[in-house]
């Protein structure tokens, strides 16, 4: 049931709304169908980010992809947790206790794919913050899982942190290639991801010079 609800919400309603009204330009994400499992690593500037990433996914795999979210915010009450688990398909992790990595690892072992924002909390519009090392630690524990870098531009202009008003803005999402980490050390993996993200950002700056 949840599978179809997610499909209708994201591939149907939210995707067309983001495209036509908000002005988000989606990258083709059909290449994800070739992958059994992946971890999407994305920059984070707005609540819209999760919506955009979910709406960009091919409809048939939406229910298998879980955005990782902070339990202290999205799981503040039982009700809130249930709502975000059902409608956003979140995987709630606790930011403070050490169980976060274990929770994510377990989800990957159960066959889910993940969406992770390694910058943690949402930052200033169109500014990147330093990545936290959790994602690298997770990837080093699951060496067969590929990561997919995703870069979003403009989401912080649509709905910045601390402001509920949505204002349309011509923005975009682009994906990099699914990649296996070529090191098993946390620092090495983190550097690799940061490098990929930077490349993605520069590449798209050239292509979308007039967006």
């Amino acid at each position: 049931m949840q599978k179809f609800v997610l499909r209708i919400i994201y591939s149907g309603i939210i995707r067309s709304f983001l495209k036509l009204i908000i002005g988000v330009k989606f990258d083709n994400a059909n290449f994800l169908l070739q992958e059994k499992q992946f971890v999407i690593v994305a920059n984070h500037n707005s609540h819209i980010d999760t919506m955009v990433l979910m709406a960009s996914l091919p409809a048939s795999i939406i229910h298998k992809v879980k955005p990782v979210a902070a339990a202290d915010y999205f799981g503040k009450t039982k009700f809130r947790a249930a709502i975000s688990n059902y409608f956003i398909n979140t995987l709630l992790i606790s930011r403070k206790s050490g169980s976060a990595i274990q929770t994510m690892k377990k989800a990957l072992e159960n066959g889910s794919s993940l969406i992770i924002f390694p910058e943690g909390s949402r930052g200033e519009p169109d500014k990147e913050q330093r990545m936290k090392s959790g994602v690298a630690l997770l990837l080093s524990l699951c060496p067969n899982v590929k990561y997919v870098p995703a870069y979003m531009f403009g989401m912080g202009k649509i709905m910045p942190k601390g402001d509920g008003l949505i204002v349309p803005y011509n923005s975009f999402l682009i994906y990099g290639k699914p990649t296996l980490p070529n090191s098993n050390e946390t620092q090495g993996i983190l550097a690799q991801i940061e490098n990929d993200m930077r490349e993605l950002k520069n590449k798209e700056k050239d292509n979308n010079a007039g967006i």
Binding site: G23, K25, P125, G154, K157, P160, D163, L165, V167, P168, Y169, N170, S171, N208, A209, G210, I211
Partner: protein, 317 residues
């Protein structure tokens, strides 16, 4: 349902002629390009092909939004304004503290088009130049961020005038009262305006490519030449004369109006070119393959629509 799809296209010969003309013209161009590509496979006409393909799509969208029902036309033109406004403001870059004023500027779009739809001319004509002009700065001031506020005030109003007020004249053509003995009506005027503006762009391009030598304004647009401009204006005036059955104008007025539409189209084009040069982009977007952004295509319309509307309104209504 009957009301929405009146299908008056089949009852109105004038409209049928212009629609037929648009698609035969496109067919000839596509066929010409196809044959040219076969004869000279080494010639690089990829961009021309992409452009023609986009013309097909745009014409099909425009014709289906125009001929079936005027209600759909209002909504379609309002959406065009919306996309152009969004594209333009995203391009210019605003402060985070302008978000509320921008949101209100977005809300002005449905209001402006609703006023056009109900045909309340007095309110329609002052809504953006007066009401929004006074109202939007108020929102910026209330936010309290004065650093760069004049920039935001000026830019926001100018974008609104160009993409919403200017373009909405296309919609008001449909609300003009009926004139006895003039069967094409507002729909005919709209088709006339859009066809003439776009053919003017194309004609200026073709004349410039074939005979262009003397640059008009090399600092802004190095591709614009006197030969292209004059050839374009003359061709457009002649074509406008030939399409006179879509307007209620007499011959001499028809020639004057067509001439001024051609000149206005040129100015709309170079004004947008100068803006793009200032920001440092070649196109305003990537929405239309071969053309650029939506704004790249309707820049001349933002100029020709008010010019055409007010001339016709003054002369014939």
């Amino acid at each position: 349902m009957d009301k929405i799809f009146q299908l008056s296209i089949f009852e109105n010969n004038d409209i049928l002629i212009i629609v037929g003309l648009i698609f035969s013209l496109l067919s000839v161009v596509s066929l010409g390009l196809f044959i040219f590509g076969k004869i000279k496979p080494e010639a690089n006409i990829k961009e021309l092909k992409a452009r023609t393909k986009s013309w097909w799509v745009m014409s099909a969208m425009f014709v289906s939004a125009t001929v079936f029902s005027t209600k759909i036309s209002y909504i379609a033109i309002a959406f065009l304004s919306f996309v152009a406004f969004r594209e333009f403001y995203s391009l210019l870059g605003f402060r985070q503290s302008d978000r509320r004023a921008i949101f209100w500027a977005f809300l002005a779009i449905p209001i402006q088009y609703y006023l056009a739809y109900i045909g309340w001319y007095g309110a329609y004509i002052i809504f953006i130049p007066v009401v929004m002009f006074l109202f939007l700065p108020l929102h910026l001031v209330l936010k309290g961020d004065t650093n760069g506020i004049i920039n935001s005030m000026a830019r926001l109003q100018w974008i609104l005038m160009l993409t919403v007020f200017g373009i909405s004249h296309m919609a008001y053509l449909l609300s003009l009262p009926e004139i006895e003995g003039f069967s094409a009506g507002g729909r005919g005027l709209l088709l006339f305006l859009v066809f003439l503006t776009e053919i003017n762009d194309v004609m200026q391009f073709i004349w410039g490519k074939l005979f262009g030598k003397h640059k008009i304004i090399p600092k802004i647009s190095p591709n614009k030449t006197w030969e292209g401009f004059i050839g374009g204006v003359i061709s457009t005036t002649v074509i406008g004369f030939g399409l006179g059955f879509l307007t209620p104008l007499s011959t001499e007025y028809l020639l004057i109006v067509s001439f001024l539409v051609a000149v206005a189209g040129f100015f709309g084009d170079v004004v947008m070119s100068s803006v793009k040069r200032d920001i440092g982009v070649k196109d305003t977007g990537t929405t239309i393959p071969g053309h650029g952004g939506v704004l790249d295509r309707i820049d001349s319309l933002a100029y020709t629509a008010p010019v055409f509307f007010h001339l016709v309104y003054y002369i014939a209504y």
